[in-house]
């Protein structure tokens, strides 16, 4: 479903991605973990074309990501941001129908009906008319997820969706993500929530210095990491301080 081969990207002098290759099959959940600055966000941003890659190929559903194919790619892949990035001048409901109405051209009534169902699904039905600034971080992120789902994407990319949240708000967002994973949604999640990765991920990819340093099925990766680098990283994430 999503396939990267030899993807490279540099910002000026800095090589941020050097030779990134991996596959995520339809219905699969892949978790990207790795130290800050290792290139995880850049990988997601290259997949839906918020950044262009310099070399290698990225395919979504067999379609190569190029400047020409961006509309098609973005229709297939939605994104959820670390800082939510909700439109502050629109209500929760209007944030969700924004894409369906103004990008996909759906009638407002149809989009609204679908959005209400999505709000129900993320437990935010009673906040349909709230503006983002009146919602907690966890609530905003659930709207962010509903906004991504409203585009009826084939896959969604989540970039540290819980790391800007107060600790007591993390669970409500993880629960929505679990439901999505259980529902068969193809997901690539950048996260340091190891418990989530263990329970929901099919594979874990350890990103270090702009490459996939280690990858494997979630249970095996977590219980039996192969490199010292991975072991060290996992122990730091599990035992901060």
């Amino acid at each position: 479903m999503i396939r990267l081969r030899g993807v490279r990207k540099s910002f000026g002098e800095r090589d941020v991605l050097r030779d990134v290759s991996f596959d995520v099959a339809a219905g699969e959940v892949a978790c990207l973990i790795g130290p800050s600055g290792s290139g995880k966000s850049t990988i997601l941003r290259c997949i839906n074309g918020l950044e262009s890659h310099d070399a290698g190929t990225i395919e979504v559903d067999g379609v190569a990501v190029t400047p020409q194919s961006l509309p098609q790619v973005r229709a297939a892949v939605s994104m959820v941001f670390q800082r939510f990035n909700l439109f502050p001048h629109r209500t929760a409901l209007d944030n969700i129908i924004e894409g369906p109405v103004h990008v996909l051209g759906q009638p407002v009534a149809k989009a609204t009906a679908r959005a209400m169902a999505l709000l129900e699904r993320v437990g935010m039905a009673s906040h349909a008319q709230a503006f983002p600034r009146h919602l907690s971080g966890g609530q905003q992120q659930r709207i962010g997820i509903a906004r991504a789902l409203a585009m009826e994407p084939r896959a969604i990319l989540l970039d540290e969706p819980t790391s800007a949240l107060d600790p007591e708000r993390v669970g409500e967002v993880l629960k929505v993500m679990r439901d999505l994973a259980d529902g068969g949604m193809t997901m690539i999640v950048v996260t340091h929530e190891i418990a989530f990765a263990r329970e929901a991920a099919d594979q874990i990819l350890f990103v270090d210095g702009g490459t996939i340093a280690e990858q494997g099925p979630a249970a095996e990766f977590l219980s039996n990491p192969k490199t010292d680098r991975t072991r060290l990283f996992l122990s730091r994430v599990r035992h901060p301080l």
Partner: protein
Amino acid sequence: MQEFLADAALFLPVLLRGLGMTLLLTAAALAVSIALGLLWVLMGYARFAPLRWISRAIINVIRGIPIIVQLFCIYFVLPEWGLDLPPFAAGVLGLGLAYSVYQAENFRGGLSSVDKDLIEAGTMLGMTWPVLMRRVVLPLGIPAALPSLGNTTIMLLKDSSIASTITIAELTRAGQLLAISTFKNGTVYLLIALLYLAASLPMAAAVRALERRFARK
């Protein structure tokens, strides 16, 4: 004092008519300046490079010529090329054109204050540039530009007095004519100053209200 009040009662009707013309001229020139300013800014953001060059060139040319000279060009030079505008139209066009560069700067500031993350969110949803502008950048950027737009309007109100030089009977010219015919320069110009203040102080208050409202967000 009593003489001042008697004169004021005599002069005020004339001056108030002048003030009415000043406000009309300001409002019309404001509309022109906003429309053109927005056009320069949108051209400045265009993908097609020549549009950006044209926008930049227009802004530099207009900004480099004194307003009074621009008015004279429109009122005295254009007729020689066959475009004969009545004074009011020439004044609106001249002031509107001159002020369009300040409005462009106001809009540019407002639009560039829009959070890049929100532009990315729109892009992620698949918005094309025009949709992004219409749905995200303009609705967030224009309110952000309103306080500086208000300040520019106050400047425009005052600079509309330049239109007195092309025979428009706005407040300044109405006062000049009155002063010449009555020799009461002191009374007349004091009244003119007070009338300009009466018009601009409420605008200044409105700008402050906008700024407060915006700071709260």
